[in-house]
Symmetry: C2
DNA sequence: CTGTATCCTCCGGGATACTG
DNA sequence: CAGTATCCCGGAGGATACAG
């Protein structure tokens, strides 16, 4: 989770600072290397711990647990334990999480529209600066 | 900038993995403690270096420079130098940046709608776990 | 005024081993 | 199966000083 501005981050005037704060709230929830992946992986029904571990390539058991706990803490995931043996645990996205998932669509759209332009800008910049 | 999955991050099936990747592209552009603040501060016309330094509370000169360079490199900001003495430098948001700025609106909306629910979930979780 | 250059700290996250 | 517990490392970012 990136260290962010908790106090009034931008001091323009009017509503810009609160806008910044609000956006930052979301980003803090979604920051971290794995949160988005988990959100997406749980967006279509309950998923078990090991399923997640397998579907999210490269995640360590530790980070999977930690990220799940954070998402659960924020009310984005529900953790249900079946007291069987061996144990079974299911994680389910809440409505709030699903709404977030949809809100990310406009960002996805932005990235798709401008991905090549951004790559080009990057190339140009890098070629110029050396 | 948070360390993220560059390879296929989520292996569900169909388009979920590409969706994840695309979202992550944006987040990488916007991650870092200060990028959003700068985006917002430059969203309403050219701003000078020192103006930014003053309006974005708590930012160090180093991070201001670094973040500005990254945003410029991605084509989100244009840096214009007036060869006067003392020097004057203006940063202007590009159209791409402005579009991004607007796309963030749905996230802001999400945060506003659920902020209290999230806070409540957090409280409940913390009270339960001890 | 607009930056660079260094040094240093903190913490997100990986690797590995152990457990109910 | 679903986690904890430790140890460790790299890099984001702060503080400070210097410069064109």
């Amino acid at each position: 989770m990136v260290q962010r501005n908790t106090d009034v981050s931008v001091q323009v005037s009017g509503s810009h600072d609160t806008a910044a704060c609000t956006v930052i709230e979301v980003l803090d929830r979604v920051s971290g290397k794995w949160a988005i992946g988990i959100l997406i992986a749980t967006a279509h029904g309950p998923v078990r711990f090991t399923e997640l571990e397998r579907s999210i390539k490269g995640i360590s058991r530790r980070m999977l647990t930690l990220t799940l706990r954070n998402l659960e803490r924020d009310g984005l995931l529900v953790r249900k334990v079946y007291p069987t043996v061996p144990p079974k645990v299911e994680y389910t996205a809440t409505d709030i999480a699903l709404e977030l998932y949809e809100s990310l669509a406009s960002l996805t759209s932005w990235a798709e529209r401008h991905r090549t332009a951004i790559a080009a800008a990057r190339d140009a910049y890098d070629r110029a600066e050396r």
